[in-house]
Symmetry: C2
């Protein structure tokens, strides 16, 4: 239907449900955007007061976040925001390559013509935003996530969608926020996205998988280099 606001799906936003769900959402957002620093300790009482709720719901939220791997919990020692070191990111991107490649292969046979058309429109919007000075880098990054999520959805594999989109894989978004501010590599990424859509249009699953794997592999190499540089300046200033 609509091609805009789809990334709402990535974090079922309204959360009209329980306070615990609300807290989960707010905390996840704070962690993903870096508002809460990596490794920072999360004080239950303090957070509960800030959110205007008791500690019960908040503890449930922390348990939920633990399941999402956004926090680490040690009994009797508190909960901390997860730390994304180089090895962890490498592992994530490796898994992503396998899962998103698979999603692409399935999507090539499962997506409707209309869905593929919408995907093209999404890329058009994306390009438009890039043209006007990159728009806010924010929406650009989220737009990219939209693209990947739409393909995951196109696979018609619920487990895959769960792992790549709705909950399990928030770590990715976290990584994006950390790295995508540099906002390099958007042009070639868009080009690769178009290639992938073309493969989907031709219903060529093998090619689509190959292109997606290559795309993600390239993204990882780019991010990896970025981390290297950051570590260098980190070393220099230390």
């Amino acid at each position: 239907m609509s091609t805009i606001g789809e990334h709402e799906m990535l974090l079922q936003v309204p959360e009209q449900g329980t306070l615990a769900d609300l807290a989960t959402h707010r905390l996840a957002h704070s962690i993903v955007t870096g508002e809460l620093a990596q490794g920072q300790k999360l004080n239950e009482a303090e957070l509960a007061e800030r959110f205007g709720m008791g500690r019960g719901p908040l503890r449930e939220a922390l348990r939920h976040l633990e399941g999402m791997r956004l926090v680490t919990r040690i009994p009797n020692a508190g909960t901390r925001v997860v730390v994304l070191d180089r090895k962890t990111l490498a592992d994530i991107y490796g898994v992503r390559e396998a899962l998103e490649g698979m999603a692409c292969r399935l999507a090539a046979t499962q997506m409707s013509n209309e869905e593929i058309a919408n995907l093209k429109k999404l890329l058009d919007n994306h390009e438009e935003q890039i043209e006007k000075v990159g728009g806010k880098v924010y929406s650009q990054s989220e737009g990219d996530l939209d693209f990947h999520f739409q393909i995951a959805r196109g696979s018609r594999n619920q487990m895959l969608m769960d792992m790549l989109g709705s909950e399990q894989y928030q770590l990715l978004r976290m990584c994006r926020y950390r790295t995508s501010r540099k906002a390099t590599r958007t042009k070639p990424a868009l080009q690769q996205h178009r290639q992938i859509v073309a493969a989907l249009e031709q219903r060529d699953g093998e090619l689509a998988e190959l292109l997606m794997r290559r795309h993600i592999h390239g993204a990882w190499k780019s991010i990896s280099e970025m981390i290297d540089k950051e570590e260098e300046v980190g070393q220099a200033s230390a």
Copy 2:
């Protein structure tokens, strides 16, 4: 080190931690083994009393299980054991094919010679158990899970290990319990396992991945047929 008792890793058993962790463990076990039927509603007060704890820790446990996808929770309407229908199982096995194939490919270059040797011993034990009337089918099934988990560990990819082993993927064990009582297909499965280990010994990642994918694909076909038959008799008796 030891090749026995390794499947303890699959459900960090001791759980000397909090009551919530204990409840998580006990509930997960009950669900996986089928002691709690699929779709059954979980009453908080009742379970809390049975486990001799308050509702607080129990609710945290349910939140954790929700993250593991072992239960489904609907606000103000309670928590239910997840239902593994045919589509869900198909999705799971599809994802498994991608992830375990990847694990195998990585393991071929990452595992030490000693680890591979231990893997062979594991299969010897496995064969022994099959010879003596199949032993308890239980340990046989768990032994198979051990095999797969050892390879996941051999990938040296923590995210992969998490997804395949320690927490996220309990659904698989649940499925095993439901289907493996029939205990067919153990001989060919063992044969395939040996082929995989041989590929690992030769450090042939591509071959190892291919064999693992084929192995899992075969397992799904076998289980799929089993479900078909069950549905037939179900239809007949209805």
